[in-house]
Symmetry: C2
Subunit: 403 residues, 2 copies
Amino acid sequence: MYGALEGIRVTDLGHVLAAPTCTMILADLGAEVIKVEPPKGDDSRFFGPFIKEKEGQGEQSGYYISINRNKKSICVDLKEPEGKEILRKLIRVSDVLVENYRPGTLKKLGFPYEEIRKINPGIIYCSISGFGHNTLPEFARKPAYDMVAQAYSGLMSITGPEGGDPVRVGTSVGDLVAGHQAAIGILSALWHRQKTGVGQHVDISMVDGLIYMLENAIVRYTTTGEIPTPLGTAHPTITPFQSFKTKDHWIITPIGNDKLWHSYCEAIGRTDLINHPKFKTNHLRTVNRAELITILQEVMKTKSTKEWIEIFEKNHLPYSPLNTVDKVINDPNTKYRKMVTEIEQPNIGKVKIIGTPFKLSETPGTVSGHAPLLGENTNEVLNTLLNYSQEQITNLKKKNIIK
Amino acid sequence: MYGALEGIRVTDLGHVLAAPTCTMILADLGAEVIKVEPPKGDDSRFFGPFIKEKEGQGEQSGYYISINRNKKSICVDLKEPEGKEILRKLIRVSDVLVENYRPGTLKKLGFPYEEIRKINPGIIYCSISGFGHNTLPEFARKPAYDMVAQAYSGLMSITGPEGGDPVRVGTSVGDLVAGHQAAIGILSALWHRQKTGVGQHVDISMVDGLIYMLENAIVRYTTTGEIPTPLGTAHPTITPFQSFKTKDHWIITPIGNDKLWHSYCEAIGRTDLINHPKFKTNHLRTVNRAELITILQEVMKTKSTKEWIEIFEKNHLPYSPLNTVDKVINDPNTKYRKMVTEIEQPNIGKVKIIGTPFKLSETPGTVSGHAPLLGENTNEVLNTLLNYSQEQITNLKKKNIIK
């Protein structure tokens, strides 16, 4: 299938999650992604869940597979001069270079940005790090994980039960958001390059990325001086906009305005609340939240989630069940939108992984390729793209420079 | 300042958050964003926090300001034929059209995609909705808020305290992530257009967007059959990778491998744990998590967060304090990276809002323009860009078609 980014070649020095997310996005959209892995492979090849191979005793990482579909893998020891030479040649023929080493690591390997640019002045070099490359030295070298970004950015301080212990967003949004922002930065830089021929450095930070996601929390603090705190599922200024326990599970009711409030009260059989002096406007409902929620919680507990869904559907009210992952996978909308999809993984067979959200009418994002085995494309890339002879390749393999 | 996307013109029919986030990103990167607002203005102009104007009795929405900086506003009644004519002319001269109405609304206004494409075959039309435009009809028309996307996608089911009530991510990530993915889809479609001349429809869904963020939760379920659940701040497969109470607040310790475990035990003065038969490998630490966390929590409570930070810094260990928003704003890295920045807002003066994470060396993202007053650019856009005479403009104003 022809993708929007067909013809763009990306050299991917990424590991685990942030850079691999960025290149997953680009690959979903049709870019050619060549993942350069060290001899032992990307660390995430050792992250569970593991899937047994059909024959033989091997297993593969489901974690690795899910984010590295659609990519090629070449296995090169970049500590060796001949390995560095391969990277140099790759940079020469690539449009984009992505990495998420700790700042300074690539320089130590002999590839500071000045060197990369010397090899290919038009290249877009994108680094993803915890605090950014261009920052105070004590931050640049700080080891950062997703958890650090979630806590350092302030996101964790506003996520969690009201008055309770802090909570992490259940997935690594620090990595994932930075991966998205890296893709945006790269595509913008490519746009600029096609007009000017000039490459540049896109310097993405996971902490920056999550600060950008704080939305109105920053301006709420800078204008009111009040420090935002976690509110469970409740909304700071809209009520009732939260989850309620039902007879058997949960239901979410985002009642965003007074008109919806009216319909909601009718639907739950509490028309007495519509014009109640304590609850008749959103402002009053928010001020008297505790009292209101106690009343509504009593009502919502009287029926099952399924019963409430029928009632809310009939009344055209916004709602959501609290879907667990099994429900999400089997949901008709998920299926229609192909947001869970199947790939044919070598030595395993069919594996179900996340689809792609990039629904473009002419050049839809696709998940068509499997995740590469370690070094699966070394031979092809070195021979066809970089013009190594089969003899040279055999020689490099013997010396353990490539796999 | 020259931005990477300079020269790209975006007509923005968005309201509140998802589409405005997409166009904020494009505007940060230099695109010209013309926000078309209805006579009463974008709904978010009525969302707090409110900032008092200097003179007169007015106030402006900090919520609106923070996400609409760098944009132009024209105020047009699209229900009137002359308003529709203005939109038609805008579509003709735009590269991109973005909207987040409920699916079908734009069609009702007289602008189904076929019509938009007829006016401008090269335009990139991006819609953002809860469940997508191209889906089963019962989903397409479903009212969706961020909360619905968080709950429906499964993200809420894996976020929260272990065994406790569900928790919403403290910001509207459903909108924000979809906004990012819309920007990626648009930039990819523009890339395709510059090679082929062909425009297309980018159909982004908030639920899709968050399913994409579930990361390994999907593959964990499809390979093991276990339904992922919330774990507080803990990581499902790495231990100790979570928050601990200190003497005065919290500290986050992501101890990602055995080497770090060794240093961590030394740093906290518990070398007896390093090779303890129950804790010596990450696998054992995860299996015996409850027992280990109880031991470590006792230790971590003996010193203040500041004392632990000094110890972890000295030992080059990854850590993070649990920053609240006030700390984030005053952090030296935030300042160095300009992730909180000041704009000069008309009638108000300086307002501190979120900066931009798009750090491109040649064409950096910038936050240089204020958020427009309602219809601030109506005259300029109609006159200069769409060739309306001043007389025509005065006439349209009299008829309340524009403001």
